[in-house]
Symmetry: C2
Subunit: 277 residues, 2 copies
């Protein structure tokens, strides 16, 4: 344990070695990461991802390249235990599994492949283009969010989130119906982005179902994040969209762009849609 | 074992209970599913998915809803063993894990959530639209494929694949550079689609990197398929695309539409890009 002042995020994902075998870690889920009564799924993935980073770092593979979380039961604030297993160690990539428990009940099961991400980049043929939106100072900060939203989402106070005015009609009862929410993303305390922080960013915006006129929280069933580059310091640009809501489920695709305009992460989740009122 | 004539696909994913504990199954990977020297990743996912279907079927959850495969080493034709574990059984969904081995070496690790898919559908707000392409009889069958391709991909002879002429320029040395390949999909022996067959369809088209002018095979690192409805009998429409090739990796998104025009599955994989020549 360090005594230096740590960012809220670094405190949130902090782990110490636990009893019972190698690759076991103890953590503490802070109520400040709550959303809709449970702890945010992106933060949980970052905690499990941190444990696997500790496990695979020794083999020179500290960064998640692809990480899939299957959410089993809602996590509450309080102590958490993470058990990791090395599935395979390769030359450039290693694969591991992790399980997160609270009081013996499994909250989250993770499979992931780790490697070493670069901030540079070569042979980039990305055809995706970053979303077009006004600069952060012309976007909508969370100080303008509906009070009921803030009360149910302590998490939002830890973010400096500036949403595209074109995608926040839902906050004043006028959802666009397009199923898209996008905006600028920073941690409120200024902690700069890194690969583990991208796992939080992939699941920290309000659910895109808000923009379909479906208020209420959308429990994640599965979330996979592909990390493609180490993000530069500065703002992240996060875009969430859904194209297939049916039978009570929807997919939510996120793209995360860094301050240099690079597509640093792509994620997709399957979630339960809130019930139509 | 049944003595009735089974389709190639049903034979390909057939499993029998194995020694060593509940939830263990023996299978046989047929060389007819080979592609580029290994067994096709979609077929492998269907074999593991079949094992989990047997495991979760008893709880009323026979169909994969979300399934993630992490590919550890290339699978060869021959015997295979699949070990399954029930992670959690819930009311409407169950989660399980599976490992596929050959000669004691792990080929594939899977995490998945199972439920019961419906062919009906309610509250469908899908904004995605199926790709526009000519009818099957005006598309390009595999009898026109380059000989080197067919020789390296026995799999293609088990498919009735009719590719959109607009996305097959790569076959005559004129890739579009757009990173998209789409077409009509059936099994050659007429076996109708079901949820497990969609796992094959999600990874059976030629890699989209062909359309970027990168011939050669693209090993899958991770593949997640979300199954959203039970497909109707008839043609499937499969569209593959990539928007982010960089640093030797690319994502490949697939959409699978059934004969009724419903988006029945969405998948994304992270793969290693073939080296540029």
């Amino acid at each position: 344990m360090t005594t230096a002042i740590r960012s809220e995020f670094d405190q949130g994902i902090a782990l110490t070695p636990a009893q019972g075998g190698p690759g076991r870690y103890d953590g503490e889920l802070d109520p400040g990461w709550q959303i809709g009564g449970g702890i945010n799924g992106g933060l949980l993935l970052a905690v499990a991802g941190h444990a696997l980073s500790l496990r695979h770092g020794a083999a020179g593979h500290p960064d998640p390249v692809s990480i899939s979380g299957y959410y089993l039961s809602a996590a509450r604030s309080g102590p958490v235990e993470v058990h990791t297993d090395v599935v395979r160690e390769g030359r450039s990539l290693s694969t591991g599994a992790a399980s997160m428990y609270q009081d013996g009940e499994e909250r989250l099961r993770v499979l992931a492949t780790y490697g070493e991400l670069s901030a540079e980049g070569s042979d980039i043929r990305t055809s995706a283009r970053p979303p077009q939106l006004p600069p952060p100072e012309k976007c909508i900060g969370m100080e303008h969010a509906p009070k009921q939203l803030i009360e149910q989402a302590a998490l939002l106070q830890r973010l400096d989130l500036r949403l595209d005015p074109a995608t926040v009609g839902w906050a004043v009862g006028q959802p666009s119906g397009e199923g898209r929410i996008q905006g600028w993303f920073k941690l409120a305390d200024g902690r700069e982005p890194d690969p583990l922080m991208l796992l939080l960013a992939a699941d920290a915006l309000p659910p895109v179902t808000f923009d379909l006129g479906l208020p209420g929280w959308a429990p994640t069933i599965e979330l996979t994040v592909h990390l493609r580059a180490r993000p530069r310091p500065g703002w992240l640009l996060v875009s969430h969209a859904t194209r297939n809501l049916a039978d009570g489920y929807f997919e939510e695709d996120a793209e995360i762009w860094d301050d240099s305009g690079r597509l640093v992460a792509q994620s997709r989740q399957l979630a339960r849609a809130p019930r139509a009122r």
